[in-house]
C-alpha cells in the first residue's frame, strides 16, 4: 500500500476505545467474507466503514451488533466481549426494518417495548425523539404513509430512544434521495456532536464517509481486509455547508478514490 498518501492525514488513535474487533474472520460456507479484521472505534466519534459492495461491511456490523457469530475472533464493547445483542448497542437498518402494522409512535418505542419499559414512559421518550428527528405530528402515521427519508428518521429515532452508547448504522442513507441524504448527513454531524455516542457508520460513498467521519476505515474486498485508516480532522470544526468546499476534504476524497480505483473493474 505504498501509494497511499492519505496517511499524511493520519492522526494518533485516541486511547479511549469504545468498540474493538480483534482478528475477526467470517466465512459463509466457502465464501470468506471477513479475514483477520482488527479495528478500533474511539468513543464519542464517528467511524466509517467504507468499501465497495460485497466487501463485508454489513457482515462486520452485524457481528459487532451480536446478530451474527464470527467464525473466529472477538468483539469487545467497553472491554466486555460480545456474545449477542446488548443494551449498549442499537442498530439502524439500511432498509429501515419498520413494522408496517405499527404507528410511528409504536415503531419508535419498539426498542423500549422489547426492553420492558412501561407504555406511558416509553411513549413519552419516543415522542421526544420523534420531534428531535423532525417527525413531530406524524406520531400516528403508518410507515406506508411516509417517504423513504421519513421512514429512516423513524429508524433513527428508534435507535436513539433506547439510549445505547454505540449506534450501528448500515448504509442508512443509501435508500433515500440525494437532497434528503445531504440533509441527513448534516443532521448526523450535529448528532455526533450533541449526543455523546460512538457511531459506526457503513457506507459505500467516499464523499459521505469523508463528510461525516472522524475516522474512516477503508475495506478492500477478496480477501476482505482494512487497507488504511484515515482521520480527517482539519475541517471538523467548520460549519456543515463549508466542508464540501474545504481543500482537505477534497484531497482526502481524491486520495481515497486513488487507492480504491484499482479494485473497481
Amino acid at each position: 500500500m505504498s501509494q497511499i498518501e492519505a496517511f499524511k492525514h493520519a492522526q494518533p488513535v485516541p486511547d479511549d476505545i469504545a468498540v474493538s474487533t480483534r482478528n475477526i474472520c467470517k466465512t459463509y460456507g466457502s465464501v470468506e467474507a471477513l479475514k483477520d479484521m482488527t479495528l478500533e472505534f474511539p468513543r464519542g466519534q464517528l467511524t466509517s466503514l467504507l468499501g465497495p459492495s460485497g466487501c463485508g461491511k454489513t457482515t462486520l456490523l452485524k457481528i459487532i451488533a451480536g446478530l451474527l457469530p464470527p467464525t473466529s475472533g472477538e468483539v469487545t464493547v467497553n472491554g466486555k466481549p460480545v456474545t449477542g445483542p446488548g443494551p449498549d448497542r442499537a442498530f439502524v437498518f439500511q432498509d429501515f426494518a419498520l413494522l408496517p402494522w405499527a404507528s410511528v409512535l409504536r415503531n419508535v418505542a419498539f426498542g423500549l417495548e422489547l426492553r420492558g419499559v412501561a407504555r406511558s414512559e416509553r411513549e413519552d421518550i419516543a415522542a421526544r425523539y420523534i420531534r428531535e428527528v423532525g417527525l413531530g405530528g406524524f406520531e400516528q402515521a403508518y410507515p406506508h404513509e411516509l417517504s423513504g427519508g421519513m421512514r429512516q428518521r423513524v429508524g433513527l429515532a428508534r435507535a436513539l430512544s433506547v439510549d445505547a452508547q454505540v449506534l450501528l448504522m448500515d448504509e442508512p442513507f443509501s435508500a433515500v434521495d440525494e437532497q434528503t441524504r445531504r440533509k441527513f448527513q448534516e443532521d448526523l454531524l450535529s448528532l455526533v456532536q450533541n449526543e455523546n455516542k460512538t457511531f459506526i457508520f457503513v457506507t459505500h460513498s467516499i464523499e459521505e464517509a469523508v463528510y461525516v467521519s472522524d475516522q474512516i476505515a477503508i475495506l478492500l474486498p477478496r480477501p476482505s481486509r482494512v487497507s488504511e485508516i484515515i482521520r480527517p480532522t482539519g475541517f471538523r470544526q467548520k460549519s456543515a455547508d463549508s466542508i464540501r468546499r474545504d481543500p482537505e476534504y477534497l484531497d482526502i476524497v481524491d486520495d481515497i478514490w486513488a487507492s480504491l480505483r484499482s479494485y473497481v473493474e
Binding site: 448497542r89 442498530f91 413494522l99 408496517p100 402494522w101 426492553r115
Partner: protein
C-alpha cells in the same frame, strides 16, 4: 385502503338478483325459481320459525368445526412454519387433505364416527383446515428477515419474536387463509347434512327438493350464502381493527 363504495355493492347485488329473476321467469329450468319467489319462501320460513330451527341444527357442526379449524389450524400452521421437522412431518397430510375427494371420505368417516355430530364436524374441519394451516405456515416461514433481525438487535425474546413480529407479519396471509377456510367450512357443513344425515338447512334442501318446492330449496341455499358473506365481512372488520397499517394493498371486500 380500498372500501368498495356501498353504491357499487348495491349495484352489483341488483344486477345479480335481476339476472336471477329474469332467468327464473324465462325459465331456464322448471326447477329454477325466480328471485322473488325464493325471497317469499325465505320470508315464510322466517315467519314460521323453521329457518331458525334449521340453523340451530346446522350451526352446531359449522361453528364447532370452524372454531376447531381456526384455533388448531393457526397453531399447527405456526408450528409447521417455525420448525423444519414439523414441516416435513405434517405438511404432506394437509396437502393431501386439501386435494382429497371429500365425497369419497365421508363413508369412511361415517364408519369410524357414526352419523352424529362428530362426523359432521370432521367434514367441516377437513374442508376448512388445510388452507388455514398451509397459508399460516407459508406466511410464518416467509417472515421478512430484516424485521426479525431488528427484533433480535433490540433484544427481543423468542416470545416477543413470535407475538410481536412473526404473527403480525403473517396476519394478512393467515386472514386470507381464514377467509378461504371458513367459506369451505360452510360448504362442508351443508355437504355433511346432504351426505350424512339430513338435518338443519340440509334437511330443508333435501325435503323441499323431494316435494318439488324449489323456491324453499333455493331460499335455504341463498340464506347460507348470505350468512357466509356476513361472516366474512365480520372477519375482515376484525382484521382491519387488529392490524391497521397492514392492510395496504390487499384488503378488499
Amino acid at each position: 385502503m380500498v372500501y368498495r363504495p356501498l353504491f357499487l355493492k348495491l349495484l352489483s347485488a341488483l344486477i345479480l338478483f335481476g339476472a336471477w329473476e329474469i332467468a327464473g321467469r324465462i325459465p331456464v329450468s322448471y326447477a329454477f325459481p325466480t328471485f322473488l319467489d325464493s325471497v317469499a319462501a325465505l320470508w315464510r320460513m322466517i315467519i314460521d320459525g323453521s329457518l331458525f330451527v334449521a340453523y340451530a341444527e346446522t350451526l352446531k357442526p359449522l361453528v364447532t368445526g370452524v372454531a376447531i379449524s381456526t384455533v388448531l389450524g393457526i397453531a399447527l400452521g405456526i408450528w409447521i412454519g417455525l420448525s423444519r421437522v414439523f414441516d416435513w412431518l405434517f405438511s404432506p397430510i394437509f396437502v393431501v387433505m386439501q386435494s382429497a375427494p371429500l365425497a369419497a371420505l365421508i363413508p369412511l368417516l361415517v364408519m369410524a364416527y357414526g352419523i352424529g355430530l362428530t362426523s359432521k364436524v370432521f367434514v367441516v374441519c377437513i374442508m376448512a383446515m388445510p388452507v388455514i394451516v398451509l397459508n399460516t405456515a407459508g406466511a410464518v416461514r416467509h417472515t421478512p428477515e430484516n424485521i426479525k433481525a431488528m427484533c433480535r438487535s433490540f433484544m427481543g425474546t423468542r416470545i416477543d419474536m413470535l407475538f410481536k413480529i412473526i404473527i403480525p407479519a403473517a396476519s394478512p396471509l393467515i386472514f386470507s387463509g381464514l377467509r378461504l377456510g371458513i367459506s369451505a367450512g360452510f360448504i362442508g357443513a351443508i355437504l355433511s347434512e346432504l351426505k350424512i344425515t339430513p338435518t338443519g338447512v340440509g334437511d330443508i334442501i333435501t325435503f323441499s327438493r323431494s316435494i318439488a318446492d324449489y323456491p324453499s330449496m333455493y331460499a335455504a341455499i341463498f340464506s347460507i350464502i348470505v350468512l357466509a358473506v356476513l361472516f366474512l365481512n365480520l372477519l375482515e372488520r376484525t382484521e382491519k381493527h387488529l392490524f391497521k397499517g397492514n392492510d395496504r394493498g390487499y384488503v378488499s371486500d
